[in-house]
Symmetry: C2
């Protein structure tokens, strides 16, 4: 009478719990920047695309669809972090461009990765191999 339906055995539950834990760790730090966790992830992409990026390409990098991104970007626009511009060569495409304020916020965020790395209590090598394992898992699943 054995079962595999045990919470402690589930990889999925560990990912679920750790993701929530990460959100909670970031929340107080991001509050100083007036950003939510998903907004911070979006800013990481936008800081790498200072010339602008389409909603579609942003969604591909974040693995999010327009149903999530549209209202999220609307809120970020309302906070003055970015603007939306229709692409004249293809009117369907909306380009997201950071404002001065959005670009400037990068400086205030530079300390975050180091701070979070410290919290993980991992060696750089261990972090690297864990990242690799997770990438492998993702690749297997998306196979």
């Amino acid at each position: 009478m054995s079962t595999n339906l045990l919470l402690e055995k589930q990889l999925c539950f560990r990912l679920y719990s750790l993701n929530k834990l990460m959100c909670r760790l970031y929340a107080p730090i991001l509050k100083d920047l007036d950003l939510t966790y998903p907004q911070y992830l979006a800013m990481l992409v936008l800081w790498q695309n200072m010339k602008g990026i389409s909603v579609k390409d942003l969604g591909n990098q974040l693995d999010l669809d327009s149903g999530t991104l549209s209202p999220l970007l609307k809120r970020m626009e309302a906070r003055g972090l970015l603007i939306r511009v229709r692409q004249s060569s293809d009117e369907r495409v909306v380009i997201i461009k950071l404002t001065k304020e959005g670009k400037a916020l990068k400086q205030s965020a530079e300390h975050i990765p180091g701070e979070m790395f410290a919290v993980t209590g991992l060696t750089p090598e261990k972090l690297f191999s864990l990242n690799q394992d997770l990438d492998q898992l993702m690749a297997n699943i998306n196979g």
Copy 2:
């Protein structure tokens, strides 16, 4: 001019993406049982506590507070999976008990863990060590 603010470097983004990916993998399978992913996680705990469990203890195991659990359990009660009973020895406590239907659903879920394991493309040893690494990370963070 190097920065650590790169999405691809972030452990947190991998956990965020993999968790969403897991949800999407489970969704179609759980749809057959008319369960959402968080409801499935709750059922895992309830199937291990057939005599009943308090909302507080359930929340401790799932790492969820009553703000999330109360409406979730309400929906599951409406679906006929469980009932809520006030504990007579301490009227603050609400005990969650599975109905016959809730208990019976376990049989229909027995195939899920094996199916999901196959999708990960991991060896049993690799899965075990990944689970260990994630447990270690969680322990480090929770200090």
